[in-house]
Symmetry: D2
């Protein structure tokens, strides 16, 4: 075993930051050297998050990214969008690796960023340097990169659920509807009336209908499998629970021969081939099993993305159900998976905890 790598987490007291820290503290090759939080600067992390007592004595720092770049091998940025774009520079990237968990480096086209995030991009030159950090699609590029843009939670689940269909050219690319549902932690720890307990509990709602910012990520990545850029309808919903994303994706199956469309078993074959070497993607492909489709509970607390599907023969539509933990495979866990790749470690290191159930 080589020397420990030194890492820092910026934005340490948000839910994603805390989750990163929780996982990093269990990583045997890592020295978590600095945790940065402007709001809690000077406080022991275990006072902000008493679950971390006994696990770390780290005190929240207000170090800048420039300062951190001199001290650590890799920085995780878990900040709202707009921050990373203005702070990450080529100079910093020469000194250390960056995994940015915001949206700032996910979109290849600056115009997409401007359109969906309603702000200019401070550092468009880096957009093409950054690698979209979805290991199941970009493993090799991630391993060689110094700047990884960690995907959005909804985007990860949507892309993994649909990519095999597009690669195999099984569906009408204009017919994709993604109906997504997330627990509340996806909204972060900033308070607002919309996330007040009594406004979320015992309620179910759609939000950002036809306008959610993960849409262009999904389209960018799925379009890499098609000749022409595709567009999807993406609608997120808020579930009264803490963690978990479930995506229900619909698309019209193409005819493979005149009037013949693939069976569910044939579609599953495509998925099995696509994901045959992927530890973190589990297929629900056993028609005899007790559970035919993924549920968020089976992934809660783990880095898995579970995928199931069926073919609705009456409408010739394939229906894919994907599930993951939005804070793990949808954020912090995937970031660590990317880090493992960037440091050439086993991709699963520190990420093999089974899901906590009931959780």
């Amino acid at each position: 075993m080589g020397a420990l790598k030194t890492v820092a987490v910026v934005g340490a007291t948000g839910y994603t930051g805390q989750e990163l820290i929780r996982l990093l503290l269990q990583h045997e090759r890592i020295n978590l050297a600095k945790v940065v939080s402007q709001s809690s600067h000077g406080k022991p992390l275990s006072q902000v998050y008493p679950n971390l007592a006994r696990h770390t004595d780290l005190v929240c720092s207000d170090a800048t990214i420039e300062e951190l770049a001199e001290q650590v091998d890799l920085i995780f940025l878990a900040l709202p969008h707009g921050h990373a774009a203005s702070k990450v520079t080529s100079d910093i990237l020469r000194k250390c690796k960056i995994i940015d968990l915001s949206a700032d480096f996910r979109l290849k086209q600056k115009t997409d960023y401007v359109e969906w995030y309603h702000m200019d991009h401070a550092n468009p030159a880096l957009l093409h340097e950054a690698i979209y950090g979805l290991p199941e699609l970009h493993r090799k590029s991630i391993a060689k990169s110094n700047l990884v843009a960690n995907p959005g939670c909804y985007a990860t689940c949507s892309i993994l659920s649909l990519a095999p269909l597009l690669k195999a050219d099984l569906i009408d690319t204009a017919s994709i509807v993604i109906d997504a549902k997330s627990g509340a932690s996806g909204a972060g720890r900033s308070t607002s009336l919309g996330m007040h307990f009594d406004e979320v509990d015992e309620n179910f709602k759609a939000y950002s209908v036809a306008s959610h910012r993960h849409t262009p990520e999904i389209e960018q990545e799925l379009s890499s499998f098609t000749q022409n850029p595709l567009k999807v309808s993406f609608t997120p919903h808020l579930v009264p629970m803490n963690r978990g994303i479930l995506v229900s994706a619909y698309a019209n199956l193409k005819e493979t021969r005149p009037d013949v469309r693939p069976l569910a078993s044939e579609v599953f074959d495509v998925y099995r081939r696509f994901y045959q070497d992927e530890y973190f993607v589990r297929l629900f492909d056993n028609a005899e099993a007790d559970y035919l489709f993924p549920e968020t509970r089976w992934v809660k607390g783990s880095n898995f993305c579970d995928i199931g599907l069926t073919v609705d023969k009456r409408t010739n539509r394939v229906i894919v159900i994907g599930a993951l933990d939005n804070l793990i495979k949808g954020a912090a866990g995937q970031a660590i998976q990317n880090m493992n790749l960037m440091f050439d470690w086993a991709e699963t290191m520190a990420l093999k905890q089974p899901s906590l159930f009931p959780g």
Copy 2:
């Protein structure tokens, strides 16, 4: 004010039965004469449901439908499917009115019943006598009927959400995707592992994917607006909460002129016309309002169906969001709305309670 009408509830101790009773106890024109429950026969209802203490001294009876038909003006049947079909006869219908809350008389085609419910229908002759009890579509027929088939909860929400689009011929009828979500009370009070608290809490899942029994109801009623029978993809999901259904429906807009598809405001005009006289349908059509789309919390405890929509211009798809309380507008409230029609009373009688919030 005329004399009180006498009614009975059969299946009184299920969630729907109890909800019927709760609402009937607040109905000024009704004498709730009998509540029938085989499992709780002989017990005061307020022992099974302590919330009803002070409100009723009724004791659960095991009277048969034949006996009830001699004693009351109207019977509500809140039993699992299969029971009503075998118990309701023309003879009974000559003596009293029936509102059946099961699926037994909803489908016009016996073959649909057999296909989706996997059993023969005991009384197919009554299928064409029964009226599908959705007042917003069949008000006049309901008023004249002795046998009303109260719609399914998902079906009510789906049909009300989509009917205006079909009547106005705005969408491609082959493109309809209905992604529906329900609280747990829709599954009833019978215990099972799937409805055990720790299996539902903090979990979100799809179920009966492409195979849910409310599908043929939805297709039957929506097809009444089209030349050819349409088919929909319908996927229900279970939300970790007690009450409420939210439907997210997707369909491709037709061109109204070459390359021109309707705007959201034009689609809203269609809905406003369709529902202009409907007390129980509320449109979320104010683009300046705090809440642009329905949420289940605003209808919980009420008989409303709230509807909102938008047009996703990028994909030329209309997205309609509908919400209702599955036990009220989706079951017991709608049954009372039907009863009010059948007795020629104000349709809103005993149904004007505002939603309980936070609830």
Copy 3:
């Protein structure tokens, strides 16, 4: 039936204000003339609370209490503590009745107010004019009063649970422990990290241990039955649900004769006598019933306070369980009960809705 009484609600957009409005809209003797909200001034109430659409067209006003006093017969003040004390004057009370839902007029001793609320009282002269608005204890005084201090939610549940024991002199007054639990709506609609969804969901905690502000109310009212002032240990807890308070109260039974302490049945006799004419107090005193103790679900959405008890013979302690809906019997419902008394109407008017279950 006489003319309608005109009322106003100040603090209309908090949870308690909204609940008052919801109930007042169902009150047949009331004209709800004004709803005041500084934060939502100018907005239709149904935009702030879409559940109220169809029920009211009222627009939030910023009228002052002085202005309202000229226009209405009664004002409900649903404001944070400190406001009512500074705004209610003898002059206003000559013009209209006031029901204050804050703590400002609950405590007879100004020193208690200063000690527990950490602020001076702006109008101590009114403290002895105000009546503590617990109808089960002070019905006659309330009926004659122009200023009613509506009790705290925890206080209502605690006092009703324990008063019979003290009146009958059954317990050691130094031994009272009240362990109370509440849903989140008791904390109001103001956002804070502590009430953020992910911080409350799937969590249970104690708060304000040995320091909650409802303590002096409880002691004041219970002491009215004893020779010497008593003190209680009162510990509230936060339950991850919207509504409901459950109080578990413990006290040592006195010997009625040497070495003889009362049986549960004898204690129940005392409660039955104490509450024999009270519509809104329901006793769980049937040892054969399915449910031996109150639960919050049976009162949710209703104005009832349910009470059950047992005697722990091993420790000679009586354990009393009380439950109510914190926003109804614990706030808005009780305020309307008080209003009914002040206007000499049936005490139960507009308050007889059964609890919503499952809710």
Copy 4:
């Protein structure tokens, strides 16, 4: 590192069994050889619990304890009470170690078992051989034992919360009131109306008031610190959440000198001394911290028991708040802690995962 120890879990598909397996799969010194479930015999465990897919290929067995005793070094019994008493024999204990997670071997007095469990004890001779498996009290005896009775979840939290007070003789032993609250997983995976989702969600209730079976365990263990056996009032409540126990314990402080009772800081000194070497007990003793008392969320998913306290000077009562995860420190985690002791391994092995938050 020595050879792996071989273990089996009997009752593998209950919540406790599954939690044991989840933790054992992360234990580096263990070979989990057999998982026994009568109800799921022949099924892969990952079909019953899809969260365990990728983690184990074990298939549920119906091996008897006799058979297992020949094959493994240690058996965990996670069965309802009554089973272990009839199955564990001296002969089996000569062949392998047993950790029984039921109540069968917890009570030293057979009469206590008969009184509280309403059945005879099949093997009373083993009662005195068994060690009550609370490491913080009985570490050395556990290490030498072949039969460990794993404590009840409520009992663990109650005993750890109160033991220091009794050892230091700070309280009146007749004054102890324990008001306990638990998430639903404590009730296990067997379905019943009382644990049906809609009956638990949005509800709070007391149950087994003054009659819960963990009472005699608590009294037995706490009495070991006192001259005379003590009795407590113990009342459990059901919280609408999956995991977590919170205990609020009340007791009257003795005078240390005439009219002088200890301050909170002095009581904390006692707790610090008592738990100074205990990794799994964390004290909330920093009066400047953001969180003054334990909450269930900080222990969820971990093996910690968090303890905080205050002194209510007005009533001379100490109020202790304890929290733990009922399936971990309250069951499976503590069982593994005991196993680690019995095999002379580091007590914390496989038990150092931080709590999952938000969880």
